[in-house]
Amino acid sequence: MSPQIRFFEKKRGARRTGSKFWGTVFEALFHLGLLLTGCLLLVWILVTRIYPHWGANRYFHETRAVVLDRRILETGNGDTRLYRPDVQVEYVVDGAQYRTWTFAVTRTNYPERGLAERAAERFQVRGDYPLYYDPAEPSRAVLVRDHSGTSWLLLFIPGALVMVGSVGLAFRVATLGKSTERRAVMHAQRKTVELFDETPQVAPEWPTIPTDRDVTNSPGTKLAYRLPIETSPGWKLAGTAIACAVWNLATALLTSVALRDHLDGDPNWLLSVLTVPFVLTGAWLVFYVIRLWVNTTGVGPPRVEISAHPLLPGESYSTYVWLPQSGQLRFDRFTMSLVCEERSVYRLGTDSQSMLQRVYQRPVLGGDELTIHRNEPYEATATFTVPESAMHSFRSGHNSVDWKLVLRGSIKGWPDYERAYPLVVHPRRQRGTEG
């Protein structure tokens, strides 16, 4: 622990050195600044943009006015000039005649003179038009009181500042001087009373172990449950195909510009050289998408079922595999394995990286050549045992231990075929006295 305050912190992943107390104070001040800025902006928009229009629509009385003249007023200087329509009108209220220059209830500026002129041309000189005046001050009148609603949209900006500032400030004040453990307890208690909390991902009696709801809600045809696939290959294919299309469209635009310069006899060699890596990457993406498409659609969707779930260490389970195929298919090697993998997510600078480490793998099925004939689905049943000393499934924010059944096939000339089916392994309920 440092006896002195460190104003400049060194960031180490999610951990920081320096004074936590003063760090929280500065963060609280930052959020207070956001909150105050949002409040001031909110008041300014309400006073100058919202209220005048709302007042004109609600309280102003209507009468008729004759247009005497019109003009365009310019404000600003240099390149930043703004143009405002202004119309001179004459009208009578309670026998008294009024003559004034007006247009809308707030100053309506346009970035181009033409736009301001078009707005003013709505009112022809010597024409008779509706006019709205303030009954408390009849000299205050407007020709335009319609409101586009954009002023209301402006409220989103101070609204966002107020929300971020107030939530951030409340959080900093609530956690000021509190230890990480105490904050974690407060956070856990808050989660238990959240009104709109989504379906819990872990069962309360098995902390950090994912629920097996996705498995047990799908009954099997031969065995108790049909296992869901880890990641649908169709989604991966669609995502990669979209990325490939976007990349190659951008590359095509870049290439067309470079080619046009060449055809015009004024080649831009720097642009031409820069285009080459884009074209090569685009070609590789096309090749990758084709491989993925072959991998996804070349083999029918397998069905994997299991006799019981969740799994327990030391227990044996049956599994059933059904693999349809519209045409003949020959795997050089086809296996199903029980696999356990550790997965970590960590921050590297501003990037989020993940790392995978397999810690268990045992074959459950296959291992040899396999030929699936036309319209004769492959079916197989096997038994496997979860090792007695197995670590249970574990999932937290950045780390996990995942069990799964992995189908893997090698087909000559094709990319390897792999499908994974997640499992949930619980620890054995052990009650006893150690030591």
Binding site: M1, P3, G13, A14, R15, S19, F21, G177, S179, T180, E181, R182, A184, V185, A188, E205, W206, P207, T208, I209, E341, E342, R343, S344, V345, Y346, R347, M355, L356, Q357, R358, V359, Y360, Q361, S389, A390, M391, H392, F394, S396, G397, H398, N399, S400, V401, R408, H426, P427, R429, Q430, R431, G432, T433, E434, G435
Partner: protein, 135 residues
């Protein structure tokens, strides 16, 4: 000059427990100037170590402070007991490790803190062995 220290003791010398077992122990604070100790927190928690960013959760938490209990003497032995959960078990993986700890955090005058940990084991999961992922 040693300002303060914490002594944590638990009921099993080998520090190994099974899910559902009750862990019992005590802690005491030794301070040259006991009046400088403002508060103390006892947490029984798990956390991850390894390649990934750290995750942790507190299973049992107790706090004592002079604000709530003005006559608190930090040198008093404070006992604690709690039933341990079913999971997560202690795990010595390759890139994911799960550790259980008893942590006493002491808050001293001047926004200073002192932390003392005592590690214990929940369950019997052997050390993981890496297996290559087929390419």
């Amino acid at each position: 000059m040693k300002r303060a220290s914490v002594h944590i003791r638990i009921d099993r010398p080998n520090r190994v427990y099974l899910p559902g077992d009750t862990i019992a122990g005590s802690y005491s604070i030794e301070a040259a100037q006991p009046e400088t100790v403002q508060a103390a927190e006892l947490s029984i928690l798990w956390h991850t170590e390894g390649k990934g960013d750290e995750d942790f959760a507190v299973h049992h938490f107790e706090r004592i402070s002079r604000d709530v209990q003005p006559d608190w003497d930090p040198s008093d032995v404070r006992e604690f007991t709690t039933a341990l959960p079913n999971s997560p078990l202690s795990y010595d993986g390759i890139i994911v490790k799960i550790r259980w700890r008893i942590r006493v955090r002491m808050f001293l005058a001047g926004e200073r803190e002192l932390v003392e940990d005592l590690r214990f084991q929940l369950g019997h999961v052997p050390t993981a062995i890496p297996v290559p992922i087929p390419v």
